[in-house]
Amino acid sequence: MPTLIIDGKEISVQPGATIMEAARLLGVYIPHFCYHPQLSIAGNCRMCLVEVEKMPRPVVSCAMPVSEGMVVKTDSDMVRKGRQAVMEFLLINHPLDCPVCDQGGECTLQDLAMKYGPDRSRYHEHKRHERDYDLGPLLETEMNRCIHCTRCIRFTDEVAGAPEMGAVYRGDHMQVGPYTSRPLTSELTGNLAELCPVGALNNKPFHFQARGWELKNSDGICAHCAVGCHQRVDHLNNEVKRVMSRRCPEINQTWLCDKGRFAYDGLTRERLQQPMVRSEESNQLVPASWAVALDRAADLLKRFKPEEVAGLASESGQGAEELYAFQEFLRHVVGTPHLDHRLRQRDFSADEVPLTRADLSMNTPLSQLGKADVILLIGFEPRYETPLLNLRLRQATLAGARAFAVHPRQLQHNLANLTQLVVRPGDEVAFLDGLLQELGSSDGHRSALAEAWQKAKQPVLLLGNYAIHHPQAEAIRRCAVALLERVGALSTQWNGFNRVAGRGNAAAAQDLGVVPHRDPGYRRLERHGRNAQQILQGAANGEIRLLLLLGCDPSIEAVDTSLARTALAKSVVIYIGAQQTPAAEMAAVVLPGLANGERPATLTNLEGRAQRSDMAVMGPVQAKEDWRILRSLSDRFAKPLPYNTREALQARMAAADHRYALDGLEAGELSAACDHKPVTAGLPLATVATSKDGLLLVVEPPFFQDDAIARRSTILAQLTLGRSALGTLRINPEDAGKANIGDGQRVRMICGERNVECIASLDANVPAQVVFGDMGQRAALLQDLCDWDGGFPQVSLVGL
């Protein structure tokens, strides 16, 4: 380990480390623009000059490896003169427009110009004029301000895997940009605005909204998917103005995806402002006081037998506190066992088996994913389910890992070495069974996947949204476990089983028992309640009379939305939630809750880390925290909920599941990831299921519209996932040709007696005899064609 002295302080660092890295370890700040700890070294801004004794010239500290006995000075006369010269050159072409620049006040160039810049310019020639590009709805460009640090180029190339930025021309004609005005296709473009050290690439929705120094900020945890990225929420006058990333090496490094960064503008849209009750005279929802609304809700709850009451919660948008209070309220205050959060799940057969947390979440921590040598994605599109997890997979593939994807269509991906295996919906179990048999046989002829899997030292297998919500989800899960067991990848050293439940806080809903068969802390119940499917079926046929909804709308989210609508119409609905939804409109009592960002909340990520998110802004004046609503409601019953403060509730959660004991953590410390082994192995494998003939419909949740806040965001509504517009039905071009359906044509999709009208779009990523549509589109609700028990619906198309 070479030892060197920086500004009189001695430090030993790893061989190969640069002077910049050593200085950062020591806490010595060296000014820089192009250096970024997560990107490759460019060494082109020349701002980080330092003096090294016995070297004749100043050296670029970000690119100079340390050597034994170096004596570095970061603030000598030579250094200051060098930096002043560099700064003078940088400012030659930089416009003096700080007063109208979004970056003003938080600009590295501005700050360093204060220290090293000349107070007047010696340059009297024309300044350079550069062209601005239209980079889509998220980035505003002002390329005259660019100082050619190339961070944006390196980011899109190395991290995002969407090489679209570049440096064209050369010398003093060099221009940074995509050189064509095409919106960037990456799902991580917002990072460019954060990465840019000057005001060249700006956050477009934040453009001219506020000045950096006016903003207050609070530490948040992103709840828009289950990765749990750390973010800084900047707000002014009780309004979220922008979201920036916070560094967390274990989870998001320094990045955020566009969904997490830009969903905030949906926070204030379509909010429930005050409690409402359905008036008996007009049959309309009318505003009421909290006391009246709660009394009415309690009356309704008491009117029915406990077994006639059921609860449905949404896992996204709720804090662990809400979920815990919800299940405790239903189980112990009302006394009903019927509650669930799995509105999208089709296969509930796993409820009969004593599964634990290890079986239901990730077992490979995010920070370890990059070390995998073989990656098998089953029904998982990581780029558009959990973008920050995808970055880890991308790092693994760049380091040489082979990746395989078993999916019903071609994935959109940016992995370096991915083999796509398109498997017809319903054939997955047969496919995985075939793979297991290939592994078992000594026959020489093997597929590439079997070959790679057999040789893998550290394989990871990831089950995604499609696999979790598959009609044979449990059979697929058991095959996945068997595959890993076969290669010894379920040990304590390396556990490659990962069930990636990608919706925000899905893990907390499992941990805290918002399921009909388990209490908090994975204690199995003797008597199982009804699951989501049975609750809605019961409500439709009159066995369930009252539905208590916590932030969820079955008429948009459920597998079978037409069943859900019947259920909502036939039962009495009490709606607790933040957003105005069709279910809230059908409710007898509406109790307005708060959304993430408006209250402190505990959010559990897909590794099983519970994390606390702070409050950023205040919600509608009359709205209350959802758990407090349930607490107040329970006062009207014989056994009220036994906590009055959030702390008391959190202590109770911690007692139920030790992973929620977060008070012992020091500031900045994270709770443990994936501390929940082992995976249950040895369960019998299911008999091989095969798919149906004909045209099958697969309904997928659209990533940028997958939760209540994101769905209402106008910024995210402009993003396309790199495919056809939201809400269209994607068809294989050949299938469309045979059926005489053109791109953009209206079609009627028929399944039995049900039918839906939608717009077709031709998509070469879609295989023959399968069509793909988006979940939860109010204009064309494709789940209307789905049936809980029927697997993938067999449909026919008629052009209109």
Binding site: P163, G166, V168, P178, Y179, T180
Partner: protein, 170 residues
């Protein structure tokens, strides 16, 4: 210089079979996993094939052939001045005005061309026959002043000789 020009024909550029064979020959000069190295000769070939200049479509086409992101091809094509990013005439006349030619009075050569063709540097004639460009040293200083028309060098020039050369072009 500010934006790539699109081809006006609307026909997507495609290499002929003969050109494709040449591409294969070019690829063989480089290791199989370093196919990107072929981008410069393939661009050069594309420029020949597609009328002496490279439209955005042509650059995108080269990107797919070489297997690079389009922006990486734009970077290469804009870095080197011998890739023409605007349409050029049938005869691309490139006058050297670098030091050796300049000392041998390339100014008079340039002036003679401007008068003869009624064009300034960087312009093309309206009939699409000529494009006049000013270029840096083409490595023929021994016979300065010189100019290049398409692939051919013309050396030891005088204003009278220049006029004759232009007239003799088919």
């Amino acid at each position: 210089m500010s934006e790539l020009q699109k081809s006006s024909s609307g026909v997507p550029p495609r290499f002929s079979e003969e050109a494709m064979r040449q591409v294969e020959v070019i690829f063989q000069r480089y290791p199989a996993d370093r196919r990107e190295s072929a981008v410069m000769p393939v661009l050069h070939l594309a420029q020949r094939e597609f009328g002496g200049w490279l439209s955005q479509e042509a650059l995108d086409y080269v990107a797919t052939i070489v297997g690079m992101p389009p922006i990486r091809v734009y970077e290469v094509a804009t870095f080197y001045t011998m890739y023409n990013l605007k349409p050029v005439g049938k005869y691309h006349i490139q006058v050297c005005t670098n030091i050796s030619c300049w000392l041998c009075d390339s100014d008079s050569i340039a002036q003679a061309l401007r008068n003869k063709l009624q064009l300034s540097f960087g312009e093309s004639s309206s009939d699409g026959r000529f494009t006049l460009s000013e270029v840096e040293c083409l490595g023929a200083c021994i016979n300065a002043p010189m100019l290049q028309i398409n692939d051919d060098y013309y050396e030891n020039l005088t204003p009278a000789k220049v006029s004759e050369i232009i007239d003799q072009l088919p």
